[in-house]
């Protein structure tokens, strides 16, 4: 999952920001805390430098300094999340194209797919704002045999996604990235619960306390869906 260099991505992101689509601006506002915090966030980013940090120069001033190595660790986590979101977004796009769904189920799939696409854009923008290179969009393949099997797969993917975000919460160093990841985590949980109910399962298969999943647990499970 090594990210490819994509210099155009940054230009594209800036152009998108200029057009100010609401979801992206909302998320970046979330990331930066609005106008008041924007300049402080800029200073913070400038101090962080590139994504392969690790240099002692990469520190913020004041209490709770974030080092370049910590920044690099956060970028890796956001890129991991980005890869999972790419998979989900691509999955729903293919499901919608498959023509297997109609009516209320199709509407729900469109809502969820739209969320995943927004997560992709937001996470991509986040990596760029952190001075990193966004992970490349993977080529995907999914078994789209029947509506039932697709819903089952969707439920599996969403439950895994929610567990994956939960697994990273304690590893994220920057509090603003943590806040952003958490705001996505609970949405993945909502998706998972809804799909669980639609497939006749409990909305809460883990009971009262959700279980996290580590990168090492998650990546092998999504590998079958990645062609390259």
């Amino acid at each position: 999952m090594s990210p490819a260099r994509n210099e155009e991505g940054q230009v594209g992101a800036l152009a998108e920001l200029a057009h100010d689509p609401s979801s992206r601006s909302r998320f970046l506002k979330l990331m930066g805390g609005g106008i008041g915090a924007a300049s402080a966030f800029g200073v913070f980013l400038a101090a962080c430098g590139g994504d392969d940090g690790g240099s002692a120069a990469g520190t913020t001033t004041g209490a709770g300094a974030t080092t370049g190595a910590q920044m690099s660790s956060d970028i890796k986590i956001v890129n991991y999340a980005l890869t999972l979101e790419y998979l989900e977004a691509d999955f729903y796009a293919k499901v919608i194209d498959s023509g297997l769904f109609q009516g209320a189920q199709l509407n729900l799939i469109k809502v969820i797919g739209d969320h995943e696409a927004q997560h992709v854009e937001a996470l991509k923008g986040t990596v760029e704002k952190l001075g990193g290179t966004p992970a490349a969009k993977p080529k995907t393949k999914f078994p789209l045999d029947s509506a039932t099997s697709v819903l089952e797969l969707a439920a599996t993917v969403e439950n895994l996604g929610a567990a994956a975000y939960l697994g990273q919460a304690g590893r994220i160093i920057d509090k603003e990235i943590l806040a952003a990841a958490i705001s996505i985590h609970s949405v993945e949980a909502r998706h998972a619960a809804a799909l669980n109910v639609l497939t006749g399962k409990s909305p809460t298969p883990d009971g009262a306390f959700a279980k996290p999943a580590s990168m090492d647990e998650v990546l092998p499970m999504v590998q079958p869906f990645i062609v390259s």
Partner: protein, 212 residues
């Protein structure tokens, strides 16, 4: 997707019995949700949390845990009362499932607060304006969505990784509850791509006028 800015007028109608400071805070928290819309409050915190969220609930992680405990007590009582209403089989089943989870959250948070050397706050005295299944579901949806917002807002303030992991593990369940309830009310299970957060300090500011 348009920005969802759910207002929750029914929360302002929740009666809180008892006249101690913590119940004022809770009432204020609910009223703030009603005034601002559950999600309208900025999700992260620019300064360290140097005051008690719940009076007598302690500061720092213990204060946050007591804040969460108060909300979980509220939810647990809500589902207990809800199960006394005439509910359909499907709704009753979910009310029991969720009520059990909220009870488990109360137990877990109480234990964590004790383990950290804090003092768990007592359960608030509450009354809910609901007489039928429709009112129950509507209030349940609002409470669960608010619970998600409260945990999401508090999470970045948490210092201990263990406490953060516990809060994350609970908020995911609250989000799942919210989605399941929303399916029953015919609402979109996930109304927005990013769940916003209810900032505890903003809640405090909003309720200050009520605190003597």
């Amino acid at each position: 997707m348009s920005n969802v800015n759910t207002t929750a007028p029914e929360l302002a109608a929740v009666e809180i019995d008892g006249m101690n400071r913590s119940t004022f805070i809770l009432k204020g928290a609910l009223a703030a949700g009603a005034v601002y819309g559950t999600w309208a409050v900025s999700p992260f915190v620019r300064q360290a949390l140097a005051q008690e969220l719940i009076p007598g609930g302690g500061e720092g992680d213990i204060g946050i845990l007591n804040f969460a405990l108060t909300l979980e007590y509220l939810e647990a009582t809500f589902y207990q009362r809800g199960q006394k209403l005439e509910l359909s089989g499907e709704v009753m089943q979910l009310a029991k499932l969720i009520g059990d989870h909220e009870n488990e959250h109360v137990v877990a948070l109480t234990k964590t607060i004790n383990d950290l050397g804090g003092k768990p706050v007592p359960a608030p005295m509450v009354a809910f304006p609901m007489k039928n299944q429709g009112q129950f579901l509507k209030l349940a949806q609002t409470l669960e969505d608010t619970g998600v917002g409260a945990y999401n807002g508090a999470a970045p303030l948490i210092k201990s990784k263990d406490v953060l992991a516990a809060a994350g593990s609970i908020v995911q369940i609250e989000a799942r509850h919210a989605a399941a309830i929303r399916l029953l009310t015919g609402a979109v299970p996930a109304p927005t791509a990013f769940d916003e957060a209810l900032e505890p300090t903003a809640v405090l500011g909003a309720v200050k006028p009520f605190i003597k």
